[in-house]
Symmetry: C2
Subunit: 172 residues, 2 copies
DNA sequence: GTCGACTGCTGCGGATTTCGCAGCGGTGAT
DNA sequence: ATCACCGCTGCGAAATCCGCAGCAGTCGAC
């Protein structure tokens, strides 16, 4: 039950999530609207969403389940790390020699590293670390990240104050 | 089958969320466990959470409502922006002369800017911009951010590939 | 063209969950 | 001791979730 119909459909019916070349599904307007509803409130009832986007409760439920299965979105609780006991966060800019992606994978495997992105510019990788205190952060940066073979240099930006953190993509 | 004796509330009954000096609530182990459950699945039923943390369904519901009201957490859908039609993202490092916080506030007001943090290090502010295409990104950086009075310089890191994006704080 | 397979939507009951409220016990202040 | 407050429990009613059967539209094959 995991069919991947690779076809181009023009009109209406099974166009909610078409696969594109790179494997990331293409979303139609209705799925986008559903996501938008759930970005406002992740627990909003399916029937209410259906009324908002013009679909039945069951249809919304099936679409949401599919979006979750495909990994397009996830419905989760997000918090301010400070209130859950993580007092030190930092963005770490990393320069790499050799294979950037393998370094990025190594960072991804670290539980303290919550965000990893490969970039163009004067850093090859940006990674966000969430730590309990300074010692913990120091350990992550100096003993774990800089120890990775291929890491040429790092620069750290310790967070002083988080001003904005939104999850309203597509709501604009 | 995770039934744990997390709730030894013999000691203290009304300690689920006490206010500390700076106004951010202090969370006890049970609330943390609830958040953890909702980080795994934001739609998990209250009864299931209650079974996991050792509370009744109604108690979990009241706690969750309180956590939401206090702004400690929010339950939302999160997506990979690429799949929802935003093809260009960038982290922007900003140097400021004068009041850093007022610049940060101005950035916060921009809908394209999804993340703003004041930092120590060679940037005063890091901001993440989510845009539809290169033109849009260029407009945000050159015409809007650099136009802010007090912005001395900016440096951009265009995202090539998002490798990790987690919301599992406290799950470790 | 018809046929068949596939996909997505609807509508429907039954099971489950959510919701509101009254009551209870522990804590701290008066 | 008394009182007010707060969090937890338990319970019935309402709303929601869930699975399933049926229908309609598209696509590919013949």
């Amino acid at each position: 039950m995991h069919s991947e119909g690779v076809a181009s459909r023009s009109a209406d019916q099974r166009d909610s999530a078409r696969e594109s070349r790179n494997g990331t599904p293409q979303l139609d307007a209705v799925s986008l609207a559903i996501i938008q509803q759930l970005q406002e409130d992740g627990r909003r009832p399916y029937a209410a969403i259906g009324k908002a986007v013009g679909l039945s409760e069951a249809a919304v439920r099936q679409r949401v389940q599919k979006l979750l299965d495909q990994g397009v979105m996830q419905i989760v609780a997000v918090t301010d790390p400070l209130t859950v006991g993580f007092r030190r966060q930092a963005m770490i800019g990393i320069n790499v020699e050799g294979d950037v992606e393998s370094i990025a994978d190594a960072l991804t495997a670290m539980s303290e590293v919550e965000y990893v992105v490969m970039t163009a510019g004067s850093f090859d990788i940006l990674a966000e670390a969430v730590c309990e205190d300074d010692d913990h952060l120091l350990d992550v940066i100096n003993r774990r990240i800089r120890a990775l073979p291929g890491v040429r240099s790092t620069e750290s930006f310790v967070y002083l104050k988080l001003k904005k953190q939104t999850y309203m993509w597509g709501t604009r």
